[in-house]
């Protein structure tokens, strides 16, 4: 039994401790915005925040989360989240969309730490998030746009 919070709500999951957080979120909590892409932390589609930091939920056993605070795309809020999601829509970043929850989580994670990221900062923060449609040009632009909104 793992006890932690998801998007501010207490959850007590009766699943084995080695269950990846990804599948607990999807199968048990029906929070399906977090996506499965590889299962080995190589693509970032499953990125969520754990205690405020981006984490790959596909390799995070729920047994390690006792007392932790998990934030998913469904519960994402705050000025950085609003700025990132608005920027994403404004320049139509998504193509297929499968990776974009993870991209948004990583982008928000970056902007919460660094409100004026350079291209290199963006590359470093986003390098773990694969976009198979290669929307990277727009991801980079949207993060700059979101940063400008936050500064504005």
């Amino acid at each position: 039994m793992a006890n932690f919070t998801v998007n501010g709500e207490d959850v007590a999951l009766d699943v084995p401790d080695d269950t990846p957080l990804l599948w607990a979120l999807r199968d048990d909590l029906r929070l399906t915005g977090t996506k499965f892409g590889c299962g080995i932390a190589q693509c970032g589609a499953c990125t969520v925040m754990v205690d405020g930091m981006p984490r790959r939920s596909c390799v995070t056993p729920v047994g390690t989360l006792e007392g932790a605070s998990v934030e998913t795309i469904e519960g994402l809020e705050g000025p950085e989240a609003e700025a990132v999601q608005s920027a994403w829509v404004q320049i139509d970043v998504p193509q297929c969309g499968w990776c974009q929850s993870g991209q948004v989580m990583s982008a928000v994670g970056l902007l919460r730490l660094n409100r004026a990221p350079s291209d290199d900062d963006i590359d470093n923060a986003m390098a773990g998030n694969v976009c198979r449609c290669a929307t990277y040009v727009r991801i980079r632009q949207a993060i700059h746009d979101a940063a400008a909104t936050l500064e504005g």
């Binding site: 699943v15 084995p16 269950t19 990846p20 599948w23 607990a24 999807r26 199968d27 048990d28 029906r30 399906t32 915005g33 977090t34 996506k35 499965f36 892409g37 590889c38 299962g39 080995i40 190589q42 693509c43 589609a45 998913t72 795309i73 469904e74 994402l76 999601q85 994403w88 829509v89 139509d92 970043v93 998504p94 193509q95 297929c96 969309g97 499968w98 990776c99 974009q100 929850s101 948004v104 963006i122 590359d123 986003m126 390098a127 998030n129 694969v130 976009c131 198979r132 449609c133 290669a134 929307t135 990277y136 040009v137 727009r138 991801i139 980079r140």
Partner: protein, 718 residues
Amino acid sequence: MTAQTRRQFLASAAGLVIGVALPLRARAQSGAAAAIGDGTIAEGGFAPNAFVRVAPDNTVTVISKHIEFGQGPYTGLATLVAEEMDADWSQMRVESAPADNDLYANLAFGIQGTGGSTAMANSWMQMRQAGAAARAMLVAAAAERWGVDASAIRVSGGTLTDGTRTASFGELAEAAAGQSVPVEPAVKNRDEFTLIGTDRPKLDSRAKSDGTAQFTMDVYRDGMETVVVRRPGVIGATVASYDDTAARAVPGVVAVHRIPQGVAVYATSTAAALKGRAALEVTWDTSEAETRSSDEIFAAFREMAEGEAIEAERTGDAAAAIAGADTVHEAEFLFPFLAHAPLEPLDAVLELRDGKAEVWMGAQFPTADAGAVTQVLGLDPADVTMNVMLAGGSFGRRAQPTAHIGVEIASIAKARGGDGAWKLVWTREDDLTGAYYRPITLHRLRAGLDSEGNIVGWENRVVNQSIIAGTPFDQGGLDRTSVEGAIEMPYALPAIAVDWVKADLPVPPLWWRSVGHTHTAYATEVFLDELLERAGRDPVQGRLDLLRPEATRDRAVLERVAEMAGWTGARRRGDRALGVALHESFQTYAAQIAEVSDAGGMPRVHRVWCAVDCGTAINPNVIRAQIEGGIGYGLGAILHNALDLGPGGEVRQRNFDTYRMLRITEMPAVEVAIVDSDADPTGIGEPGTPPIGPAVANAWRVLTGTSPRRLPFAQTGV
């Protein structure tokens, strides 16, 4: 404008469903479509279609016959309808069409399906007429209500007016349902377009930025079991025997069954299913499998290249011209198997209750998958409902002439027995080792130059599998998808011989974003670039000089990209080099220039300029996005990707740790210019991909003296 007596629409509380009678030219041509039915179809080929729904709440819903997996048809089709209706963009909605070849055939295929970059091209008139018919009926309803002539009604931004009174589409929806459906509604002239040709925000961006977009894997049904399948690591192997004792002992695992695709593990959760699968012990029968390595296949292809071939193109006598040439240049290019690797792996959900099945999947040929379910489960076709879901990418992978996912999910249901609901999930390992690859391919080229450096003869021999063989698209003989792009080049060469050697392997092939052009663009544009270099000619001017007089669109994109890149003839800019490539695919013309440096033995691509002519630009925003993405997709493949068969045929790359995806750190800046055109729209999902490989390889040769002969760069040892 004439009216049909039979009203081809349905009025309901939900509003107005407008069916539009449209000629189905492709059906008459191909004869491939299902029988049309109840005798209401006039001689000459008319059938009712249903693409537009106007609701009392003033929303206009477009029913998309094309699947949306990022290439933009939802927005594109809605744009065509909105344009002709004079709707406001904010009132547009879109829904996926059900599986129905009669209503929703791709006019280029004769059956329902998405692929070959045809979505907008085949829908161009059909969806505009659908919108124009809706507009005409709304206008007729307003005229009737206000007692004025229809010619007095104007429509703009979703509002109708006669100058004094106004009404929204929603207010008139019910009355419009009582109007006759125009058979041949007039569409706008190009100079009347207000939406087509302008940047339009995509309808699916919001839902794809906040996690609410619903994909197949997001479907959950009551009592649903999740199923994963243990598959062979050697392609074509079958289960010899298995021991499921340990698998069944995993908490949550409810059943294990052998199915034609392998051994299926059924569980109450995905995690349990995966754990159960890992605990299975399976021995495989490889007697029918591909047990050769990729290197052994290439060696076999080299021998086959000397043997019997199918003639693909002939101009003059290339062999004689090359024999009499001043110098002869030869090259052999090797292309690996490639996996499509859509980021949402293959999946499907099937619920079976009381002899009726409902299916959810990202089906690119929905009637084929629905048909497979019907057949495997022995159901009445009317009892199978297909929900075509948003899909997390495809790049060709979900366009399955064999409907193998439909077959697999139905086999899972059948093996379990009885009613229930099942979700099939492929893992990344299943995806990469599961075949349906871009075929492994060999190109052998030979060309002769005269003493002045002119090309006097060009030979190309292509060895690969046929993607089309055995599918409904098979017409026997030459499979054009094996050589497209290697034939009918835009260059005026005096003697050409292109041949195809058909290879048969027990590895199912499939079209991969841009199909044959994935290798033909590279082989031809690198080889040509080398010939121009030998002759001391400029890669841009040399190509322009070679273009046939009628290749005006090729010429225009090449001239345009040279201008964008500030081309001066210098192939180097400091420590960077420029490489050029020109390639038409799917009747769209694309030229690219890549700016590349040498980053420790691998290319670093800093910038790419692309000029593209895809006919009328319906939505430049989507066109730019597809070029950006197409370049990234092609670049990742030529830099990193090979699906290699090792000794014994074992697939070497099993996940993204060894099958590397392009990352943001490797993505160049991309500048796109769209050539103005009044021609009908052509494809845009694929044509951005072919030129990037040769453009980078041609720049790389400036830096290092060689262009890779075997892809990807990461394996070529340059």
